[in-house]
Amino acid sequence: MRANVWSGRNTVQVEEVPDPQILNDRDAIVKITSTAICGSDLHLYDGYVPTMKRGDILGHEFMGEVVDTGRGVENLAVGDRVVVPFPIACGNCWSCRHELYSVCENSNPNAGMAEKMFGHSTAGIFGYSHLTGGYAGGQAEYARVPYADVGPFKIEDDLSDEQVLLLSDVFPTGFFGADLCDIRGGEVIAVFGAGPVGQFAIASAVMLGAERVIAIDQYDYRLQMALKKAGATDAIDFSRDPDVVEQLKELTGGRGPDAVIDAAGMEATHGHGALHAVDRVKQATRMESDRGHALRDAILACRPGGIVSVVGVYGGLIDKFPSGAFMNKGLQLRAGQCHVHKYLRPLYERIRDGQIDPSFVITHSLELGEAPNGYETFKHKQDECVKVVLKP
């Protein structure tokens, strides 16, 4: 089959590789009809995530048709149309039983490696470095899906691929970011990053009852999408004024947002000049793995007693964590890779009921063979790119 593989920093290529096979009884093989490039794939592309190997098939957002099932999979049949959640979760361990699917205790066969980095292992993830298991990803014609009796979500009506594909990651991830904010009605929520996850965090905060939602980015076209499509009430363009903390205070009558969602992560690009330069150099020389502006500013901007929700991806360590602000303001820091399985049905129902159509973020649809162009376009924000879908 053809697959998009990582071949070193800033390089991906579409190659011929062996077809996947059933390795365990609970596996299924899915023929992929649509797959997307995620913002977190750019961290791999840019070479900021360790434990990548040449030849790794990328991609963790995909859907398609079941073409084979192992003996232990009774809920799926050949021909079923499914969306596959990006975390690989067994459904049996204590974490899965408590709906903490992205920290499944059994699905990462490189748990020892992950323990060295994080203290504990987290779930396996498709196409997302060897630290999360070394599973082949979904930017390919076919994928092997482990624990297929737990993960894949059947789509049994006529919604298009574009409407349901993003249930695999970015829609639930954005919703999770908003869900962590304990929105009860009337809150002001700020969202760092107006990429796909940020757009869905904004839309979700609105759906959950926030009164005002402030989008923060440096690209006007993304802020326009946030205002016109996702439902943001305000926008901060930090390419014009980098002091985001001060602008957030001003927009909130000096209080600060009730909760701040970091949907930017480890390659944040704003921040105060000198600090950004230091972070940039340290990250480039691998002295610091993550650039932490968004997280630092989130903590500084959040109102005392508020919540900072982190769904943007971090991989290692940041310097200059504002521990004083965090402690003295009594903030709650909440985070995680999304527990996608938990959100699939409720979010699918919101799509089916017409509350949201996630396809609004899709700006580019390319043939799988065009993946290298897709990565470049997305990385450099060319052609007003927000989300790239690939068709095998």
Binding site: R97, P109, G124, Y135
Partner: protein, 129 residues
């Protein structure tokens, strides 16, 4: 040198002890001669803790073990692999396999990962799939 490893399995004490001692389970590195294995009920209805303490190596075995441990493939790491396999088998019914580590978690695979792409036909049998 730390000679202990532990894991929690989401099953009752009786069941974990029975499965650990069953003939279907035969760990290579944690065996009765070299290790003390104890079981305890985990707090909060979280199943059973398995604690393994490996015996100290004889004087001749020490140098080799230090070398193995430095490269991350010491006896404790191997014992942890076996504990994870046991937990996976008991909780999920199978060993987690990826393209990079098709035999499942194994210290020897840490530095010799396959690329994350499907196995060719000739590799499938070797991986025990």
């Amino acid at each position: 040198m730390n000679r202990k490893a532990a894991i929690t399995v989401n099953r009752s004490l009786d069941e974990v002890q029975r499965l650990w001692r069953s003939s279907d389970w035969s760990p290579d590195h944690i065996d009765d001669d070299k290790a003390t294995v104890t079981f305890a009920v985990a707090p909060g209805d979280r199943g059973t803790e398995i604690h393994v303490e490996l015996a100290s190596p004889g004087p001749g075995g020490k140098v080799g073990e230090v070398v193995e441990t430095v490269v991350g493939a010491g006896p404790v790491a191997k014992a942890k692999d076996e504990l994870r396999h046991f937990k996976q088998l008991v909780e999920t019914g199978e060993i987690a396999r990826s393209d990079a580590a098709p035999e499942g978690e194994r210290v020897g695979r840490k530095l010799k990962q396959r690329p994350a792409q499907p196995l060719a036909e000739h590799e499938l049998e070797k991986a025990g799939a």
